[in-house]
Amino acid sequence: MTEATELASAAGDQDPRVGLRAVSALRRLLEQLEAVQVRNARNRGWSWQEIAAELGVSRQAVHKKHGGGR
């Protein structure tokens, strides 16, 4: 923790820590949501291609990220 961030925090309003913390939490929530939705789609027989199209990413990307365990 640098002195600058300490000061920013003392200043209250625009504490970068609060904003960054929220981004980090949101990213983790997003990852969990993606995992659970992809799993559900797979359980319902969706192809990787179909899932990738909905997520707006390549089939390879989605398979690499979520396909490893099976």
Binding site: A22, R28, L29, Q32, A35
Partner: protein, 177 residues
Amino acid sequence: MIGERFTRDARQAVLDAVKEAERDSADAIGPEHLLLAVLDAPVLASFDVPRGEVEAALRDARRKGGLSDADAEALRGLGIDVDQVVASVERSLGEGALAGGPPKRRRFFRNHLPFGPAAKNTLVRSLAEARDLGHGTLGKEHLVLALLSAKGLAAEVLNAKGVTYTEVRKRVVSSPR
């Protein structure tokens, strides 16, 4: 080799963490498993950290996809209600949906659960804590300090119970070795 300077207690804690992870059907050992394994550390005796409450806090966080109370608070600042998100996902996909699926069974040839990156970092960090304190051996108290020094669920659960890095370190420094 990291292991050679571990006290018997610290070794036992690592073995206990493996058991906690197995009981959890986890894919890997995480800091939260180490946390459960060091709750009986003498340095924590003067704090009030009942195992049941720690387990409940971890369970609650897992149901929220691994998000802690502090994470939920941060998201509330963005206008996102994590409880509502969890409720909505559970309504459509079943209770505990965000807690992750069944464990991936890929350990046909390996009987040991691997340490996850965060748990590995904790072990490395505990060594640094012992070194900083000038201690020649690594005990449970150093594992506790390592857990507290990292950002994450384990530290937050402890912090919520009033167990902070600063307080624990004070006790470690003043306790006889």
